[in-house]
């Protein structure tokens, strides 16, 4: 069962609860029917009713266990990932660099962030050759200015 399924189950517990209730009711009814046809006093059914007790509660426990197991699994996965990253420093460095570059180039494309405006207005005039992009014109200025300076 995926983590999302568990989460969904825990959120849609009332439907689950009603279905389980129905199942238990049928089970008890069948026990009673059988007791009647065999001419018994229905003690089996009464016993079962007692054994079921609060089975709904029991199911909730199972669901909660599933959910917390899911969270434990998640924490375990994160710890494992961090350990692996610590072991492969080179790979981690390259991956982080790629992610950083990706974010750096992607950010100005869809946001007029304060950081960016600060960059375009303050840094650009002073450092015309810096790696800087305008929010409305996503071009890496390094190459343009570099060309014009060279040419």
């Amino acid at each position: 069962m995926s983590f999302l399924t568990k989460l969904w189950n825990s959120l849609s517990s009332s439907k689950l609860h009603a279905e389980i209730q129905q199942e238990i009711e049928t089970h008890l009814a069948l026990l009673e029917e059988e007791a009647r046809t065999r001419g018994l006093d229905g003690r089996d059914a009464q016993d079962a009713r007692q054994r079921f007790g609060n089975l709904g509660k029991h199911f909730e426990n199972i669901r909660d266990t599933n959910l917390s197991t899911g969270l434990d699994d998640l924490a375990h996965d994160v710890r494992f990932a961090l350990r692996q990253m610590g072991r492969n420093r080179g790979f981690t460095g390259v991956a982080l660099l790629v992610i950083a570059l990706g974010i750096a180039t992607g950010l100005p494309l869809d946001s007029q962030s304060a950081i960016w405006n600060g960059c375009s207005e303050r840094i650009r005039p002073e450092f015309p050759g810096s790696l800087c992009m305008a929010a409305h014109q996503p071009v890496i200025l390094l190459s343009r200015h570099g060309q014009s300076e060279n040419g």
Partner: protein, 111 residues
């Protein structure tokens, strides 16, 4: 999620349920329990409190498929049937069980 192969008791209950369903038409929980009681001359009693959680867990794991229907006496019940994944699990669990049985028997012979 890891399978429950280390939990011998739970694994055994799963195996019994799967085995019953593998050889029958879709059945509700009560019928499954009755079948196991009948086959073992009541030596094995399936507790309802374990049966239904097991059925639900195995349905979540896609070993079983369930559908609402009505019993012979016209009561609404959920009918379970085994899936191909469940059949494979049954096969594996049977092998594990036989293995365990052989290993325990060897120890008992020595002791």
């Amino acid at each position: 999620m890891p399978k429950h192969q280390n939990d011998r008791l739970q694994g055994t209950l799963d195996m019994l349920i799967l085995k019953v369903l593998a050889g029958s038409t879709p059945s509700h929980g009560y019928a499954i329990a009755q079948r196991i009681h009948g086959l073992t001359a009541d030596r094995l009693r399936i507790e309802e409190g374990s049966l239904y959680p097991a059925l639900h867990r195995m349905t979540n794991d896609k070993w079983l498929k369930s559908e609402w229907g009505v019993t012979e006496t016209n009561r609404k019940a959920r009918f379970y049937k085994i899936t191909p994944l469940g059949l494979r699990e049954l096969e594996e669990e049977q092998n594990r069980w036989r293995e365990l049985g052989r290993a325990v028997a060897q120890v008992l012979k020595l002791a």
